[in-house]
């Protein structure tokens, strides 16, 4: 039986600078179905839906709604066509009430006067019909994250949409709230509305969807009806088969002694939700422990805690005998931790300062760079000259504003600064994201060199190739927990199993 096509996107292409986010994607939404867009971060799911919602303009391709070709230039156009979207980050005015937020931006039937009575009646209808419980007169700031999401959904429904796009809606919800949300979604479906559910979580996708479209690196790698597939197959489609294992030389450090020990570490994220649920692991001397996992599963918080910019709520981190959790960045650097942060532009460097200052910024207050209250710029500049030669950092001079360097060279600046201090332990988060192949290989080489010289390295990366390329052991994180650790000196990596663990569908016992 052929179902009615509500939305059809044909050959959608979208590039950001040199990055192809959507490469000729075809995507259909049928009436009264829940279709999931499954994929890792950066696969192009959100981009595709933002094109449909009029937030991005496509480079090429066509969109049909109810069989008619349409141009969608803004969310307003999308809403007029019956398409609504709930973003990962909400777009509500915190100081206004639920009711005010819902009618914000809509023309009022009473002209210049707002018709609150009418709006309230419709709002109550929607709340009752779909079980979206929320107090219309509560101010947004008083609401929980789950309630705010409901307000966003109500907002869309109030605008009479037929297709509702939800971007990672469960990321911010508690399990109970997820259940509530799923109930609501099933009511929509019964009424003939369609839902696009963006997610990277296999279990949820298997639970709620009728159909699943899998994206990887901007292309559709598969489309399955729920009945004809299973988590294993989806994991493979999501992660990809072509991942080739590169065997690296064995580490030169033979004795396995734990260098960094993490014990029962618990931490909150910026939204005050528990992001690390009491994890324990250790990194040995002379090894790279790679952390695999879809972004947003606690890696960022782990990085922050180790780097000293997020206080854990409980647990310990020991570097040799020293406790480092809860210490300041300066103390942590002094204890021998080298930090290559994910956010190199906003954390790792101060782009408006000259290059030579960025090369010493983590230790400018140590001799020979300063003495008493004074800084010895002569010795700093000499040191900076040496580093840019040693690490082949391309720059007009060491005096330029750091901002003028290219991405790869910026990362080399951080690398040079960190490695120049011969740290015992290095945390490297997304060390090669956005870099060209040359810079990437150079950085990999340097990290392996540091490992061979006995440093312990915690490598956090969304790039599975990178994790597989560099790691001696692979740890998979999902929802703030460790799903398992694969020791490659003992076993080969099973890609499917890795994919399942990353998507939360399989858990190993962690010894």
């Amino acid at each position: 039986m052929e179902k009615e096509k509500i939305v059809e996107m044909r050959n959608i292409r979208k590039t950001f600078l040199n990055n192809v986010a959507n490469n000729n994607i075809n995507f259909v939404v049928y009436k009264g179905e829940i279709v999931s867009l499954l994929g890792e971060n950066g696969a192009g799911k959100t981009t595709l839906m933002k094109i449909l919602y009029g937030m991005y303009t496509k480079d090429s391709g066509e969109i049909f709604v109810n069989g008619k070709k349409v141009e969608i230039n803004s969310p307003k156009d999308a809403i007029a066509l019956g398409i609504g979207m709930v973003h990962q980050h909400f777009t509500l005015v915190r100081t206004l009430t639920v009711l005010e937020n819902v009618i914000l931006g809509l023309p009022s039937p009473k002209g210049i006067n707002l018709d609150f009575d009418y709006a309230r009646k419709r709002l109550q209808e929607i709340i009752q019909r779909y079980g979206l419980v929320v107090n219309p007169d509560a101010k947004i700031w008083q609401l929980s994250v789950g309630e705010r999401q409901r307000v966003e959904i109500i907002k869309a429904l109030y605008r009479n949409i037929n297709v509702l796009i939800l971007d990672e809606p469960t990321a911010v919800l508690t399990p109970q709230e997820v259940e509530e949300l799923f109930k609501t979604l099933r009511i929509f479906k019964k009424e003939g509305k369609s839902i696009v559910f963006i997610s990277h979580k296999l279990e949820e996708v298997m639970e709620i969807s009728d159909r699943i479209v899998i994206l990887r690196n901007g292309v559709v790698t598969g489309e399955r009806r729920k009945e004809e597939t299973n988590a294993r197959e989806l994991a493979r489609l999501m992660v990809g088969r072509e991942v080739i294992e590169v065997l690296r030389e064995k580490t030169s450090v033979t004795e396995k002694s734990p260098l960094l020990k993490v014990e029962g570490l618990k931490a909150l994220n910026d939204k005050n939700l528990v992001a690390l649920k009491g994890i324990s692991f250790s990194v040995n001397k002379g090894e790279i422990l790679g952390v695999a996992g879809v972004a947003g599963n606690g890696q960022r918080e782990l990085e922050d805690v180790i780097c000293g910019v997020r206080k854990p709520i409980s647990g310990h981190i020991f570097l040799d005998k020293d406790e480092i959790s809860g210490r300041s960045p300066k103390e942590i650097i002094r204890l021998g931790v080298g930090r290559i942060p994910e956010d190199r532009m906003e954390s790792g460097l101060i782009l408006d300062l000259p290059l030579y200052e960025n090369l010493v910024i983590e230790f400018y207050d140590k001799p020979p760079f300063s003495k008493g209250m004074l800084i010895n710029y002569k010795s700093i500049k000499r040191f900076a000259q040496k580093l840019i030669k040693e690490y082949r950092i391309k720059t007009a001079s060491i005096d330029v504003k750091t901002r003028t360097l290219s991405g790869g060279n910026l990362q080399k600046v951080i690398l040079a600064r960190v490695l120049s201090q011969s740290p015992k332990f290095i945390i490297a988060s997304q060390p090669t994201r956005g870099l060209d192949v040359g810079a990437m290989e150079y950085i990999h080489e340097k990290l392996l060199e540091a490992r061979n010289n006995g440093a312990g390295i915690l490598l956090i990366s969304e790039d599975l190739h990178e994790v597989l390329n560099l790691s001696d052991r692979i740890m998979v994180m999902y929802e703030g927990e460790i799903m398992g650790i694969i020791d490659r000196s003992k076993e080969k990596v099973d890609i499917e199993e890795l994919g399942l663990m990353m998507a939360g569908a399989k858990r190993r016992k962690v010894s």
């Binding site: 230039n73 960045p329 650097i333 954390s347 910024i361 800084i375």
Partner: protein
């Protein structure tokens, strides 16, 4: 219905030589705009600008008076500039100036049996501390509790200005003249005159030392590096191990102290007692001077001298041409707006289009 849309788009920064020239261009543009106002008043702007120069640097006497005016402007300019480098938005130099003046007058009126150098040093120290406290409070609130510094520093100006007013109308009122001004400070507490037969006092030397201090602080010291890093990107600075809270608190204290010295100079070098209206807005002018000087020590020095010329010259011009001397304030305001607009246009270009 369609409205034209105005958008700001990022652009590449202009070459360095142009950035150095910016203040000069800003001054030029602001004078052009001011000329329009003078024309509206029915006077010839060229004549007006001639009298401004004549009244401020045209004679040896006028030049010396200009230096008297420059001293507090340099100090407030430096005070604001070092604060702004750390992005501590100290709008409160005016209040800190009054705090310094109040403290200097208090110590000066005690008539302590001290030799002149010691007494002067004491007056300076106490004035510095008073300004430092008045700025340290909002600095601490900003650093520790993220209280908006623009609001606190601005509002604390009024607290201090009215406190001074209350004192002068109450306990400190001059019992002989019954004017709202304090009794004179001790002879030994007064700054020496450094150019004979003029009002140019020791405060000018202090202000030049402050410029030197700023140069040294920013370019040579750890604290200077820390405030530059904190100002450029506070979260990155924190990540990289800089104690941004300490940097902001320390610089707020130093900034307020230097602004306090401007008040000390006015009391101990010019008036010899505390009066209402001691400062015709030196603290606020300091903000414009800091911006016009591009937060650079030499730039601040030049900008302060330019302002001293405008302020004193406008007074002379207004008497000669019968134009309100408020034109000086107008020129100051326009200069700031032009400067800010130019700094904005360094980073963005304006794009006007039509919305769909």
């Amino acid at each position: 219905m369609s409205w034209p849309t105005i958008k700001l788009e990022k652009r590449l920064p202009p070459p360095v030589w142009f950035q150095v020239l910016t203040p000069v261009i800003a001054v030029f543009i602001s004078l052009l705009i001011s000329a329009i106002f003078i024309l509206i008043l029915g006077k010839n702007p060229i004549t007006a600008f001639y009298y401004i120069l004549k009244g401020s640097i045209g004679t040896w006497f006028a030049f010396k008076e200009m230096l008297v005016k420059a001293a507090p402007l340099i100090l407030t300019g430096v005070a604001v500039a070092i604060a702004f480098i750390a992005k501590y938005w100290n709008i409160g130099a005016e209040g800190q100036l009054y705090a310094g003046a109040l403290a200097a007058a208090w110590i000066g009126m005690l008539n302590l049996p001290l030799p002149k150098p010691v007494y002067i040093l004491l007056v300076i120290t106490v004035g510095f501390i008073a300004g430092a406290i008045w700025s340290g409070i909002p600095g601490y609130l900003k650093a520790k509790l993220k209280v908006d510094d623009v609001v606190t520093t601005l509002l604390m100006n009024y607290i201090m200005i009215y406190t001074v007013s209350a004192l002068l109308n109450g306990p400190w009122r001059n019992p002989v003249t019954m004017y709202p001004s304090s009794t004179p400070i001790a002879q030994n507490a007064r700054f020496p005159i450094i150019i004979p037969r003029s009002r140019v006092h020791f405060g000018l030397i202090i202000s030049l030392l402050a410029v030197l201090f700023m140069y040294f602080l920013v370019r040579k010291t750890k604290l200077g590096f820390e405030i530059r890093a904190t100002g450029a990107n506070p979260s990155a600075a924190k990540f990289l191990g800089i104690d941004t809270i300490k940097s902001i608190i320390v610089i707020s204290i130093i900034s307020g102290g230097i602004a306090g010295l401007a008040g000390v100079g006015e009391v101990a070098g010019v008036h010899y007692h505390l009066i209402r209206g001691l400062s015709p807005g030196y603290g606020y002018s300091g903000i414009i001077i800091a911006m016009l000087g591009r937060l650079n020590s030499i730039g601040v020095l030049l900008a302060a001298i330019y302002f001293a010329i405008i302020i004193n010259g406008a007074q002379f011009m207004s008497i000669t041409l019968n134009i309100p001397s408020y034109i000086a304030t107008v020129i100051q305001g326009i200069t700031l707006i032009v400067m800010l607009a130019m700094l904005l246009l360094f980073e963005y270009r304006i794009k006007i289009g039509r919305s769909k």
